[in-house]
Amino acid sequence: MQQETYKPGEHPDLPPPSNTIGPMAWIRENLLSSPTNIVMTALSAWFLYEIIPPTLEWVFLDAAFTGENRDECRAKAAGACWAFISERFNLFTYGFYPHESRWRVDLSFLLLLIALVAVLWDRAPFRKQGLYFACAYPFIAGWLLLGGYGLEPVETDKFGGFMLTLVVGVTGIAFSLPIGILLALGRQSDLLAIRLFSVGFIEFIRGVPLITLLFVASTMLNYFLPRGTTFDLLLRVLIMVTLFSSAYMAEVIRGGLQAIPKGQYEAADAMGLKYWTSMRLIVLPQVLKISIPGIVNTFIGLYKDTTLVIIIGLLDPLGIGRSSLADTKWTGLSNEVYLFVAIFFFISCFGMARYSLYLERKLETEHKR
């Protein structure tokens, strides 16, 4: 048999041994590599077996998708009763917003989508105009939703459902970042009065639960206003939520400020830049970049905290669900409601988290070891 000969170093790579490639090798390596590993796999598989089939059955296979009331649902199937959700879907989306004006909510959802695309996707067409539009969006949406100036005015106590969540969430997100940056700069400031004020504000807000601040907003804020004036509950909630998350934002930004090497500050000073210019051009771009995970986590926290408004009587999806459960037609369907709302929050928050990971990777400029 003819043996081929090679010069040293010229032999082509041999294929890997057959027991280290392919799905079987993967299974052996990742699931069955040691006795402990086998036990873990068995336990996990048993757990999945216990959880997944009953869940699937309850959610899809044995669920009723149509029906007039709870008893009709239960007669059809033993699982979930989704007819309830589909009957109340409009309530979950718009709250008690007047029927004839709901196109305004739809339009503001659509515009939000456009603004989000412009902000989040850096190769979007017309991005520059899109960014200007995104800055103007909170005001446009405010006009669309509240009315006035040619549109039928709508009281804020008609707001509810996912729309309310988005109103509180988007406003909080839009305003808490700039306020948080100012507070963080204040906390690092050389001016004693400013520093003390920032520290006091941040530590006070971070020391108490959001729900107590919402209670303050709903019960005692009126005492602090001039006699006879009162202002909208939703506006008070918006202010409290924004202030609350800006305190957390300030701590995130402070972490970033402290992580920037001192040389950067000194170099900016040496260039003769004034305080605000050096912050704007040198420090903050670096700080914001390294703080992205923290910033997005704060956003997610704020977004989830919007559910707390139900405790002071605003009707977000959870509140709508809870009040719908009081309807004798649909009583006892709490699991369906909570699962439905949970899916909504999961999609939004998980989306934000994944986007922040993507952004982190994209902005990564340091050399990986």
Binding site: N37, T41, S44, F197, T212, F224, D305, S334, C349, F350
Partner: protein, 396 residues
């Protein structure tokens, strides 16, 4: 030269502004005036408003009877007790759920963190799915969901699930036998305390001996023997001086024994599972952040695998884990105020909820609530900072 100097003497607005010292003084004075002015304004408004409705500002209401019931109380409390006593009950309830929650969340969180690092693909992904689901859904929803499951899915007391002798699971709570201590029982807790004291001394001693001679005591096993073994032996020598008060079904509910209310169970489980997801990620990140070279170096020194973990990896990981862990503990404590959504009577639900509505003393009640939560947060921060200082790297 002299001309320049004289020209500097003139007072000009732009020059004053361009001088760094003067400018900082001016900015601070303006800021202080604005802040003080703002507070003066709102306090004046509050004064005028309170005057106008004839309320005044007073804490006398605290000593009036509260006239509402609280179903879970650790100190004696009836509806004839004062609002102040109701507040104390609320504080104890908040502390209870916070302490139990922190303990369970830490345990679950460490387990999750380790599972996330598991080389087993399936386990790893299961932990990942759990963490992502729990973290991305509001905690209030978790609380309501768990509470809903307990109240709607567990049976009424008449068809209670009997877990063991005298322990019953119902939608009114978890009923179990209550221990009744006989006279000689006090010896057992005293022995446990003495054991803990001995162990604190022995740990230091063992460490010193190891530093000096290299001899290693099995501290864990000796500790277990002294702190648990001796009291257990003593308990049986004394003739098991505990009898059990077993709950019995009377009418529509159980009487006697001990009960853990569904509100507490729901709040406790939901808060712990929610916070555990965050702690799991913190633990994972902390352990990953310890350079792998440390593990290799320790193995090269001949340490066994559990020694590598205990003596090298975990002490270094803890330094990274503890600061964010503190803020999770704070979050859990603050989130416990969501108790009000399911009717667990904590600080906010007693003094900031029913007492506030009954007396109409919004300002006084909310000030108490805010101060109590601030105090609680400061306490947790202080304890965790003390711990963090103990374990942190001693640098030159």
């Amino acid at each position: 030269m002299t001309g320049m100097v004289t020209s500097r003497k003139g007072i000009s607005l732009s020059r004053t502004w361009n001088d760094k010292e003067t400018r900082s003084v001016i900015i601070q004075i303006v800021a202080i005036c604005l802040i003080l002015g703002f507070f003066a304004y709102i306090i004046r408004n509050a004064y005028i408003n309170l005057e106008a409705i004839g309320k005044g500002f007073s804490y006398n209401f605290l000593w009036q009877p509260s006239s509402y019931d609280i179903n879970q109380h650790f100190i004696e409390y009836t509806s004839r007790s004062s609002h102040f006593r109701a507040m104390m009950v609320g504080i104890l309830n908040t502390l209870l759920v916070a302490v139990c929650g922190i303990a369970l969340a830490t345990l679950l969180g460490f387990i999750l963190g380790v599972l996330r690092l598991s080389r087993n693909w399936l386990t790893n992904k299961l932990a990942y799915v759990y963490i992502e689901y729990v973290r991305n859904v509001p905690v209030l929803l978790h609380i309501l969901l768990v509470y809903g499951v307990i109240v709607h899915s567990l049976p009424v007391p008449k068809q209670a699930i009997s877990l063991n002798e005298g322990a019953f699971l119902t939608n009114r709570g978890f009923f179990m036998p209550a221990p009744v201590f006989e006279t000689l029982f006090w010896i057992v807790p005293m022995l446990i305390l003495a054991g803990i004291g001995f162990m604190m001394w022995f740990r230091k001693h063992a460490r010193r001996v190891q530093d000096e001679t290299g001899h290693h005591y099995p501290v864990f096993w000796i500790g277990l023997g002294v702190m648990a073994g001796i009291p257990i032996v003593a308990y049986f020598i004394l003739g098991a001086p505990i009898t059990w008060d077993i709950p019995e079904l009377k009418g529509f509910n159980f009487k006697g024994g001990m009960v853990i209310r569904p509100e507490f169970i729901a709040l406790w489980l939901a808060l712990s599972c929610y916070t555990a997801a965050f702690i799991g990620e913190i633990v994972r990140a902390g352990i990953v952040a310890v350079d792998y070279g440390q593990t290799e170096a320790a193995s090269a020194l001949g340490l066994k695998r559990n020694r590598v973990l205990n003596l090298v990896v975990i002490p270094q990981a803890l330094r990274i884990i503890v600061p964010p862990l503190t803020s999770q503990y704070l979050n859990l404590t603050k989130n416990s105020s969501l108790a009000i959504a399911i009717g667990y009577m904590d600080i906010l639900a007693t003094i900031g909820g029913i007492s506030l509505n009954q007396t109409g003393r919004e300002m006084e009640c909310m000030i108490i609530v805010l101060l109590l939560y601030l105090a609680l947060s400061l306490m947790i921060s202080a304890v965790m900072n003390w711990y963090n200082n103990r374990i942190k790297l001693v640098e030159r």
